[in-house]
């Protein structure tokens, strides 16, 4: 089995930053011309996705079902635009599919379906991801497999009880190959978080998870967290990421209504330009 991605140290930070930029470019391409989309969230996890798909994870883009693979479960289904970008960039999905995002009959839905190659879970009904990740990690443990399980969840998903039920189970079963990334972007459907979830890191510590807090939009910190998460101490790990919705495109970073970005037909050119300029 050809594994075409596996960590190579020292981490190539500049290369990963370029990958994150390319993912953002794919996302703008997907959203372009459409009146609206979850572009802000995709942009805010681009750095994590780049680090996972082009540094940390062992997987074969040509064989997304390879049983020994490390898995990434995107619990927050509406972040799909980010995952599509990563799957196109690694080669599992085709570049020419980008423009079909959200279209009738497309595989690149607004919310993830696990019928699309490379997708590990169906999202959209939130806070179902951590429990599934616990199940996958448990199966690996029972089968004595070495594979890691990475799962992303949003700050809004911290408000659902199911997240904490899964957190307790992860700790109980000593899933030390399970790593959760909590995307604290400060927003949810009704605006800024309507129910306080802080202190996030302390909550995970209280649930018995090894916990680290980072700026999720700084590649060096994301990479450091991934390296830290490799050390197995008999408990699962939580990486609390502080991120900015719309990261990389200042106009979007400043948007009040960031959960569901609306962009006029005439604005897309400027948005694409801003992304390139910000990258420098």
């Amino acid at each position: 089995m050809a594994v075409t991605n596996a960590p190579v140290d020292p981490a190539p930070i500049g290369f990963l930053e370029e990958k994150a930029h390319r993912l953002r470019r794919h996302m703008v391409k997907m959203a372009s011309g459409k009146g609206q989309g979850y572009l802000g969230q995709g942009l805010d996890i681009a750095d994590l996705l780049a680090a996972l798909y082009f540094y940390e994870m062992r997987y074969d883009p040509a064989d997304p079902k390879w049983p020994e693979r490390d898995r990434f479960l995107l619990s927050t289904g509406h972040y799909s635009i980010g995952l599509w970008a990563a799957l196109v960039e690694c080669g599992t999905l085709r570049t020419d599919e980008l423009s079909t995002y959200g279209g009738d009959g497309s595989r690149l839905d607004m919310s993830t379906l696990d019928s699309t190659p490379g997708v590990e879970m169906t999202g959209g009904s939130l806070a179902q991801g951590l429990g599934q990740a616990v199940g996958v990690a448990l199966a690996h443990k029972l089968d004595k497999r070495d594979a890691k399980v990475f799962v992303e969840l949003s700050d809004g998903e911290l408000q659902e009880g199911s997240t904490w039920e899964a957190a307790m189970a992860g700790r109980q079963f000593k899933l030390d190959k399970l790593v959760a990334f909590i995307d604290c972007n400060g927003i949810q459907a009704d605006g800024k978080l309507v129910l306080d979830v802080e202190p996030v890191a302390d909550k995970w510590r209280a649930f018995g998870w090894d916990t680290m807090e980072i700026d999720g939009n700084r590649m060096a910190e994301v990479v450091a967290a991934l390296q830290w998460a490799r050390v197995e101490r008999g408990v699962p790990k939580a990486v609390v990421m502080r991120t900015v919705p719309g990261k990389g495109i200042p106009t979007l970073e400043k948007r009040e209504k960031a959960h569901f970005v609306r962009v006029g037909d005439d604005e897309w050119g400027a948005i694409a330009d801003e992304l390139e300029k910000t990258r420098g």
Partner: protein
Amino acid sequence: MAKAGTTLGMGVSEAVAGNFIMAPFGKALAEVARNRPEVLGLTADLGKYTDIIPFAEAFPDRYLNVGMAEQNLIAVAAGLAKTGKMPYCTTFGVFATRRAYDFICIACAHSNLDVKIFAALPGITTGYGSTHQAFEDTALMRAIPDVTVIDPCDATEIMQVTHAAATIKGTVYVRIQRGNVPVVLDPKTYRFVPGKAQRLRIGKDVGVISTGLMTARALEAAERLAKDGLNVSILHVPSLKPFDADAVRAFAASVPRIVTAENHVVSGGLASLVVEALYDGGLHRPLTRIGLPDRFPECGSVPYLQEKYGLSVDGVVKAIRG
């Protein structure tokens, strides 16, 4: 408005031509709350997406957002209702029913509590896929004893039902359309009556029994068919529980053939109720069922999906023609 052929996000209401009212539910709830200090508005991080904002703006102190936590939404509502309040709760139908079902069943219905659940995105009113399309919620809710289940046709009826819910004792589940909702029924003449079906059109050739937004489609289809000389009767059944079985039987007896139309799977909802009512009455009529099949609907634009599943006016016309 989005372009044709693209899934609209969960926040976007579909385009409708003609006469409509923006956020009929929230507007009516603000009216209800004016005379009833016990009324509260609750949501689980979907205030903007379930049209409760007009109420929230009118009564900010009586608007409570519990965060994205539907089980807790219903549990908290039950506690409030036990203590003299009348909570109106909003979320999407899928999350109310699939995630909070046990809480609705036990915390609310079992104690016959005055919890009013206004559930958005019924059936195919979003292109956001099975995770957001409440295609089996009526079947689930009608299976719980003592719960009232209502699928209003349009803005007129949504507003009337919002008022009526306060007078119906116990747990009430209402499927709402949101955003710009069409006005189909004339507010001057139409009156929603709890538990009652209403004949909206008389024709001798085919009888359509419909609920929710499918009644609007049926009315339009009937107009078209009348031009071809096919005369259609329409019985609108907003109340699925309690179900007006007598009216359904009387209606069925008056036509040679019936068509049911619902924005829901054809098992467990209106079509099943009609078949049960006819069987119980020993009545037989050829039956065509318009509704969703027994499989997960996909993502896509709403017009595309409605066409695909025969819920469009064209689809209804075709089914009535037989």
